[in-house]
């Protein structure tokens, strides 16, 4: 036997290496051939169903979990995204437009109509209209309502309006403070609202004369519209405050007391009800505040001093004045503060 030359052995090694590479390529590629020729559209991704279930793109699915609690079986809440889109794309722009439109209409009305004066001027006679308890209830409600309105509007619109002014850090502090105040004063508003409703409900029951008052536009556009102790507009506002206010309170409690297992969906619905009605009520309150202050001379006095001028009462609540006259109450009407006090002095001018 002759020994093989060293060069032949060295030539065989690359040859084997090429075979191994080819074998590896075949092992890797051949299994892919069926996939290459298959109709890809009909091959389901084995993971797709799983992730569809997880993301719940089609419908909420409740799974099972060791964690016991409300919604713990839901990995991703699809309705949360729907709620978020409603809040951002519908509620915020619509609410802003309603508030802006109401302010604009009031400003336009004021420019056209101006302050409605007391017909015939002030008589100098004061008529008792609201008790001190009435007024304490009213102003407590006003204070809490606007505190909740401002803090609520900061939570709704602050991201857009306040971040440019305060910066992200400043807004974070403000939003946190507003949230705490909103949560703290909300239950107080409910208590005061219930007391207010109980106090005023009898005199706000609807009557036929209120329909006539509404048909005449409350006399705002000319003519006289008869009214009793409260007119049709005041009664509508009372019932709006009552019904919307109670709905706002109940939905607020659903949001505030999360320890009653109400779940995300109910809370999302509650938030929509809470914020939508609150925005409408805030818009309505602008009209109420306008007609009670700038819009009509002599109205604010009824809630500050408790009494009104006799001519104001005759012009705006003539049926109430007739009732009083029938009872003989106005013979002792108090003289006005101007008549009662020396110059430079103020006097209460009403009885409690």
């Amino acid at each position: 036997m002759t020994a093989k030359p060293a060069g032949e052995k060295s030539q065989r090694k690359p040859h084997i290496g090429r075979w191994l590479v080819c074998l590896l390529a075949v092992v890797l590629v051949v299994p892919l051939i069926p996939y290459t020729f298959a109709d890809r559209g009909n091959v389901p991704n084995p993971g797709a169903d799983l992730w569809r279930e997880v993301r719940q793109r089609e419908a909420p699915v409740t799974g099972t979990t060791q964690v016991k609690g409300v919604d713990t079986g839901v990995l991703i809440n699809i309705r949360g995204e729907q709620w978020r889109q409603f809040r951002m794309q519908t509620l915020l722009p619509a609410g802003g437009m309603v508030l802006g439109a109401v302010v604009g209409l009031i400003a336009l009305f004021y420019l056209v109509r101006g302050t409605i004066r007391v017909p015939g001027g002030r008589s100098g006679k004061r008529i008792q209209r609201f008790t001190e308890y009435d007024r304490i209830l009213h102003w407590s409600t006003v204070f809490l309502f606007y505190l909740l309105a401002v803090t609520g509007l900061v939570l709704l619109y602050g991201r857009f309006l306040l971040i440019p002014l305060l910066g992200p850090d400043g807004f974070a502090v403000t939003a946190s403070a507003c949230k705490e105040a909103h949560n703290l004063f909300g239950p107080l508003f409910f208590v005061v609202l219930v007391l207010l409703v109980i106090n005023f409900i009898r005199s706000n029951l609807p009557k036929w004369v209120d329909i006539k008052w509404l048909l005449k536009g409350g006399g705002l556009f000319g003519g006289h519209a008869s009214a009793g102790y409260f007119n049709g507009g005041e009664k509508i506002w009372f019932w709006l405050v009552t019904l919307f206010g109670l709905a706002i309170c109940v939905s607020g409690f659903v949001l505030l007391f999360q320890n009653f297992d109400q779940g995300r969906q109910l809370m999302e619905i509650s938030h929509v009800i809470h914020s939508s009605l609150a925005l409408l009520l805030v818009a309505g309150s602008f009209g109420h505040a306008y007609i009670g202050t700038l819009g009509m001379e002599g109205s604010l006095e009824s809630m500050t001093t408790g009494s009104v001028d006799a001519n104001w009462a005759k012009a705006h609540h003539d049926l109430w004045m007739e009732e009083r006259a029938a009872k003989g109450l106005d013979e002792n009407a108090a003289p006005s503060p101007e008549q009662q006090s020396p110059p430079g002095k103020t006097a209460p001018g009403y009885q409690t």
């Binding site: 001190e132 308890y133 007024r135 304490i136 102003w139 407590s140 204070f143 809490l144 974070a172 502090v173 946190s176 403070a177 705490e180 105040a181 703290l184 004063f185 239950p187 107080l188 208590v191 005061v192 500050t304 001093t305 408790g306 006097a347 209460p348 001018g349 009403y350 409690t352």
Partner: protein, 213 residues
């Protein structure tokens, strides 16, 4: 910087003014002394002082109906305020760390919320009564309104800072509370401490004459 100032020098300054100011008010009152009564006592002055101190917690029957709202509001406000002042968890911790060196069991969170709700509605109604009632409106001075507003904003910032999420809110609350300490001895807020000797003096002088006041 501001937080360090509020928690450090300004805290000690306001506390010092409060203590010295209250002591000065009491010393001034005691230095007035009492007029010597030469008549024979018909009843015990001490019993009269005690009786008046207790009886004034309830309104007189003749006016109870008319002043029901401010009486209820007054109780809500004062009881709520003192519950917050002495038993709110952050206050107990503050008193332990800065004043006494020891603390006590604070009230639970739900009690804090109830106390603050009671205090807020009570203060609001009392202030509205002050400005809406013709008699109290005429009797009120700027001091009364400043005191009410100051107490309100101190309580409000305290509740806003309840969860201490932002240190700025806590420091704001502390700063306003220090302003209240500075204002306290020189204002009608002194009634919080003066009501006992005031009622006692009236009760003693009338009680000595045999009058149940």
């Amino acid at each position: 910087m501001f937080a360090e100032f509020v928690e450090g020098p300004f805290w000690y300054f306001s506390l010092g003014v409060f203590v010295v100011g209250v002591a000065w008010r009491f010393i001034t009152m005691l230095r007035f002394g009492t007029r010597r009564d030469l008549s024979v006592a018909r009843a015990s002055a001490a019993v009269g002082a005690l009786r008046t101190n207790l009886s004034r917690f309830l309104p007189r029957r003749e006016v109870a109906g008319r002043i029901r709202v401010p009486v209820v509001a007054g109780y809500l406000f004062h009881l709520g305020l003192f519950a917050l002042l002495l038993f709110a968890a952050p206050h107990v911790e503050f008193i332990k760390n800065h004043i006494t060196g020891f603390g006590w069991t604070p009230m639970p969170h739900w009690a804090f919320i109830l106390a603050s709700e009671a205090a807020f509605i009570g203060l609001l109604v009392l202030w509205l009564h002050r400005v809406l009632n013709p008699v109290t409106r005429l009797l009120s001075r700027a001091d009364d309104h400043i005191a009410a507003i100051l107490v309100f904003v101190v309580m409000l910032t305290g509740c806003l800072a309840l969860f201490q999420s932002f240190d700025g809110l806590r420091v704001t609350h502390l700063f306003l509370a220090e302003l209240l300490l500075l204002y306290f001895p020189f204002s009608s807020l002194m009634h919080a401490l003066m009501f006992v000797p005031s009622r006692g003096y009236t009760g003693a002088s009338l009680g000595r004459r045999g009058i149940h006041a």
